[in-house]
Every structure is written in C-alpha cells, then in structure tokens.
Symmetry: C2
Subunit: 141 residues, 2 copies
C-alpha cells in the first residue's frame, strides 16, 4: 500500500528506554510495588529481575483486587504478598527490530508494549500515546 | 492533505454509547464506586448525574490515593467519602458532531474521550482502542 514507508519504519524512535521506565522486581512486596506505582503515577508497570528479564506487569488494579479479599486492608499487611504472586503474565512484547506496523496492531488491545533487544533483555516500552502522536503527525504531513 | 476523508469523518461510529459505559454518580460513596470499578474491570469511568450531566472521572488510582492517607484501609470506611470529593475534573470532551481529527489529537493524552450531544448531555465515550483500530484498518486499505 502507499503507507509502506510508515508501516515498515523501525519502532526504535518510539521506545521509552528502560532507564525511564518505572518497574519493580518479582520478589518485591506488594507494599513496595504500591509505593512505586503511586509515586510514578502510572496504573501499570513492568516486572523485571536484576538482569532485566521480563516477568510480567503489576498494576494498581491487581493490587486492589488482591486486597479486596482481606477484611481490612492494612497497608503493612501488603508486605506479606510478593509481586510475582499477583502480577499478570498476559502482556504484549515486540523486539526492537520490529516494525511500526507490528506496534500499531498490538497497541489496539494493550495500553503499552514491552520491547526486548536481540539478547531477549527488556529494553523499554512503547506506550499508546507515542503511536497516536506519530499517527496524528503523519496524517498532517 | 490527502487524508481529508479520514480526518473529516464524523466520530459517531467510534462512540461506545452511554448505555454500555460503566459509570457512577457524584453522590455515590467511594465504596460503591470501587465496587463498580472492580466489577467492570476498567481503571477509570465517568461520573454522571441522573440527567446524564458529566461531572468528572473516577479511577481506582484516585480511590487508592484517597485511602493511603488512612492508617488502615477499611473498605467500610470508604462509605464515608463521596465520589464528588475524589473524582478528577481534568478530562477530554468532544461533541458527537466533531471530527475524527479532533478525536485523534485528544486521544494522544487521554485513554478515553467523553462525548456530549447537542443538548450537552453525555452520549458515550471514544476509547483509544477504537481510534487505533480505525488507524490500523486505514493504513491497510
Ligand atoms: N506522568 C505522566 N505524564 C504525562 N502523561 C501521563 C502521565 N501518566 C499518565 N499519563 C497519561 O495517561 C495515560 C495513561 O496512563 P497509565 O498510567 O494509565 O498507563 C500507562 C502506564 O501504565 C505505562 N507507562 C507509560 N509510561 C511509563 C513509564 N515511563 N514507566 C512505566 N510505565 C509507563 O503505559 C501506559 C500508557 O501510557 P501512555 O503514555 O500511552 O498514556 C498515558 C499518558 O497519556
Ligand atoms: N473488559 C475489557 N474487554 C476488552 N478489553 C479491555 C477490557 N478492559 C480493558 N481492556 C483493554 O485494556 C485497555 C485499558 O483499559 P482501562 O480500563 O485501563 O481503560 C479504559 C477505561 O478506563 C475506559 N473504558 C473503555 N470502555 C469502557 C466502558 N464500556 N465503560 C467505561 N469505561 C470504559 O476507557 C479506557 C480505554 O479503553 P480502551 O478500550 O482504549 O483500552 C482498554 C482495552 O484495550
């Protein structure tokens, strides 16, 4: 189609690099994860171990769901649960060599896409806002 | 530009109509709002009164923030707070006669856009997923 140029573009310039992505580790407590989520202001963030292997996504919604089972939510009791027991493993992943076309179609159903490098380590995320900003710019060229 | 046809399209076909949009009322308790949010699975939903006037957006994040001030979060204490004291009034609004162009640019910074009809009543929302699905389809025509 006439949109080959946009669709075949590399996603590299739309990636928020890992050093700017709020994240937690699988063994962290839910109390710690809640603190990072509230401080960062994000509703969901990646779960990575120290060698940047991607384990899942933890969200305020998941932590909230975990606490609803308790009679009383005592923030200090959140330290009895670990991120790896509450996180979701249903998330979108693409490689840093993938095309913009792949990123658009994944972003339809995922608020952000995790990006891996050639060694399978986490290298950042592509959020929907970046895809939408690019599309908006493209349509006004 | 050559994209006039897409940009000038009406947003009508991308609107999730109000009867399918989970919402709460300004005078509802936070306990009730939390129940609706958890049951619906959405992170944020509109706040409407009985004549479908739009007041704001309530989210799990806002309810969580409101409870963090408490020493212990007792779900039944959430019934002492009302939605109107916790909701955010910073949200995106367009009219059902607006163009797709307007919807794209608002969706860059908002996960969903509230839609009003000619009498200024709430008529539904346009979520980012609908914008992205349309763009993805357009680029493959
Ligand atoms: N501090 C902030 N500054 C400016 N705008 C903000 C913001 N926090 C949220 N927003 C706006 O709200 C949208 C939804 O944020 P949310 O946290 O639910 O959902 C976010 C969050 O879960 C994740 N995310 C984005 N940036 C992140 C980062 N640096 N670290 C970790 N997660 C991130 O990707 C999702 C989609 O992000 P996206 O940018 O498309 O969409 C964002 C952005 O448009
Ligand atoms: N039950 C479900 N079935 C299928 N997919 C689901 C889903 N719940 C969430 N998702 C997916 O996750 C995205 C983020 O949902 P979230 O609840 O954070 O954020 C949602 C929510 O805050 C609001 N929203 C969407 N549909 C709604 C509805 N029927 N009533 C009230 N709010 C709605 O608009 C935001 C953006 O929605 P969007 O569709 O772009 O993006 C959704 C969708 O792609």
């Amino acid at each position: 189609t006439e949109y080959e140029h946009l669709l075949n573009q590399s996603i590299a310039e739309y990636v928020i690099p890992s050093e700017h992505v709020a994240h937690v580790q699988p063994d962290n407590t839910l109390e710690h994860a809640l603190l990072v989520l509230v401080k960062s202001g994000y509703t969901a963030i990646p779960v990575l171990n120290t060698s940047f292997e991607l384990y899942g996504i933890i969200s305020k919604a998941k932590i909230l769901d975990a606490t609803l089972g308790m009679e009383r939510i005592e923030p200090e009791r959140l330290d009895q649960f670990q991120v790896k027991d509450t996180m979701t493993t249903d998330f979108a992943v693409i490689h840093d060599s993938d095309t913009f076309e792949r990123a658009i179609s994944l972003s339809i159903d995922h608020p952000f896409i995790c990006v891996k490098d050639s060694k399978n380590a986490f290298s950042g995320i592509v959020p929907r806002s970046k895809i939408l900003a690019r599309m908006n710019g493209y349509l006004h060229e």
